[in-house]
Symmetry: C2
Subunit: 365 residues, 2 copies
């Protein structure tokens, strides 16, 4: 069974297909959505994904009458750089990609963000298709945010460039390492926490199935996670206001990532701690304590961290946060849960309270 | 007197102001168009322009209550690179530019294209202002095409990103070297040739005044050149069809630039030859010979080249053209003048004829 969703953005609307084994029919999906056979395609992937899934994609595209070349980057965040982008553009030129060509991102968020920015900037913008192969990428492949990193800041050079479609073949997820599975589920839970109490409860009840990559649970979970993302993005494509709610847990999360040694915390792990922090802030502000209890309980069920490792320095975390966000007169903007499945954008959170929460996240267990 | 024009693009419309000494009032223009004082600005310029015009801009911005830092790149096409872009983004981060900040391009087409792409991609797009300081930049500063080069191809990595306004202070042009003056006028004449027979005749009649930088003539010429560019861009922002007419003379021109040694031919010089070539093709196709006579006569009056230097290799030029454009079955797309002030997009020009014209451009004088 293939589930289908639409990201509603007027003339830039596009479908998300979710199902097991979709990639066997990749050429048919491409044809259905008008991807030209007259112009060459470039498939961008990384070393890990290439090993398991590239051959199928290249074979099925060729069988379907497409001319495609592939470009494999080193796995990992470091490939999201301008230097790698320049190299990929060289490959586009050598393969003769023109204004009617399409860039295909086959991989997780790293490949999606990088290949998406290639597509956004090559010849000032050509088409692209997202083929997410991680659970986290149910978040990153939807919404059109693409970017590379600068040595001084993550995701700082990029564009809004919506894909032609998202093709989510859940069978690719079977090769994903367990730690990446859990980290990706952290963003799925986030989508429940900001938007949908029922889905949050479903996630909690199905934690074991999700961690175990049960096909039915996975597809239902990804479908609902994507649906929240799509709904939010449809209402605010360029993050003028509402889209900011997708950053629940990310203020503390980004700071932890910045302070952590390379690879100590994955993004999904950093934000599960951040979401617990946001729940603590919420309770501190007078909201029901249940918000914190439920949030903590869920992440524990998924084996995701809910506390800051003790050796992290509170002052360093606060500095990283100030670098990321603007404090003005000791207040900052913060996404605060007001109930399970509901958040508000609070522009008046005391920086002092945030420091208190960071401290508490380090102490308690 | 300040002349004013609008580039009509719905919500992305913006004004072009042309006048002598405008920059003295830069802060007032910024204020008028809602450029925030709360967020820092970055002024990008090059070494030549900085020497003559940077201090005025920085002083007047500071006096007007703006916080601005400047970044000076080396003069010349080589600065239009991803490496320089990465460095400028570092400067943006260090200066604390945020989503409400503005990038200001103070310079010719190189600075405009580069700084424009910084603005298009920093934080996925912030505002920018064009302050053109060359005559050629009456073309490049209008229309929102921004880009950097790849070692294998010019302008291949970029975006469509419209400025908030174009501030054209013609007094900055007084320091421009004579060769750049003439090369810039080549694009002004192009704007006449594709769109406006009367303006073409005016250009010819005022050649000496224009070359001599007579203020009144310059302002009138730039106003009309910008008006043509604005009219075309308003009808086809993303070059789906009409905008291609701006490439009159550019097919041969780009090939000559690709084949020429560094700096042998300026862009404006390469396209004056190319426009003569297009006129020859037009006559070859049966249009009135007057098209060629007038085109040649004008460029000669401006001291711009009308012939390909003899040492250029015809085959190399043809290869460069095939790399740039697509020939299919011996036919190619070409912008052909059908009268002075009128062109057509002809999708069926024989490559054999083009070769014939390239040969003729090398022989005759
Ligand atoms: N654009 C957005 O809106 C958005 C949103 C969230 C995150 N992101 C970005 O996403 C990135 C993180 O995404 P990610 O967690 O998917 O990272 P990732 O792409 O690095 O993938 C994680 C790891 O899993 C491997 N992998 C991927 N698919 C696999 C598969 N099917 N089998 C085996 N191994 C596989 C990868 O090689 C990598 O080692 C970050 O760069 C982040 O900035 C972007
Ligand atoms: N974006 C577009 O639509 C578009 C259109 C046409 C050309 N372009 C681009 O424009 C560039 C060429 O533009 P250009 O000819 O302005 O080149 P440029 O910016 O390199 O300027 C030419 C020379 O004049 C110097 N200079 C500029 N202003 C000066 C001044 N007031 N006084 C003294 N010296 C001055 C510069 O330092 C440089 O040495 C190319 O990179 C081309 O690709 C872009
Ligand atoms: Zn995230
Ligand atoms: Zn030009």
């Amino acid at each position: 069974m293939v589930r289908e969703l639409t990201v509603d953005l007027g003339t830039r609307s596009y479908p998300i297909y979710i199902g097991e084994g979709l990639l066997a029919d990749i050429a048919a999906y491409f044809e259905k959505h008008g991807i030209s056979k007259a112009s060459p395609l470039l498939v961008v992937t990384d070393g890990h994904v290439a090993k398991h899934h590239l051959k199928l994609v290249m074979d099925r595209l060729a069988e379907g009458g497409y001319t495609a070349v592939s470009y494999t980057v080193a796995a990992g965040e470091k490939s999201k750089s301008l230097a790698v982008l320049e190299d990929i553009v060289g490959a586009c030129l050598q393969a003769g990609l023109d204004r009617k060509s399409t860039v295909v991102a086959l991989g997780g968020g790293v490949v999606g963000d990088l290949a998406g920015f290639v597509a956004a900037s090559y010849m000032r913008g050509i088409r692209f298709v997202q083929i997410p192969t991680t659970i986290l990428a149910h978040d990153s492949s939807v919404g059109g945010k693409v970017a590379v990193n600068h040595p001084l800041a993550k995701n700082i050079i990029g564009a809004f460039h919506q894909p032609e479609m998202v093709l989510y073949d859940t069978s690719t997820l079977l090769t994903l390492p367990d730690r990446d599975v859990r980290a990706g589920l952290s963003e799925m839970i986030k989508h429940g926490l900001i938007w949908d109490a029922e889905f949050t409860a479903w996630c909690e009840a199905n934690a074991e199935k999700l961690i175990g990559l049960d096909p039915e649970a996975l597809q239902y979970g990804l479908y609902n996670g994507c649906a929240v993302k799509a709904a939010v993005v449809s209402q605010d494509e360029r993050e003028n206001d509402l889209r900011a709610i997708l950053n629940l847990g990310h203020t503390i999360g980004h700071a932890l990532e910045a302070v952590a040694g390379y690879n100590e915390l994955q993004h999904g792990e950093a934000i599960s701690i951040g979401m617990v922090g946001a729940a603590m802030l919420s309770v501190r502000m007078g909201n029901p304590v249940e918000i914190l209890t439920v949030t903590e309980r869920i992440f524990k069920k998924f084996g995701l961290p809910t506390r800051i490792p003790a050796h992290f320095d509170t002052e360093a975390i606060m500095r990283a946060m100030m670098h990321d966000k603007k404090f003005s007169e000791g207040r900052m903007v913060y996404i605060i849960p007001t109930a399970i499945g509901k958040v508000e954008i609070n522009k008046n959170v005391s920086a002092e309270w945030v420091r208190e929460i960071v401290d508490r996240l380090k102490r308690e267990d």
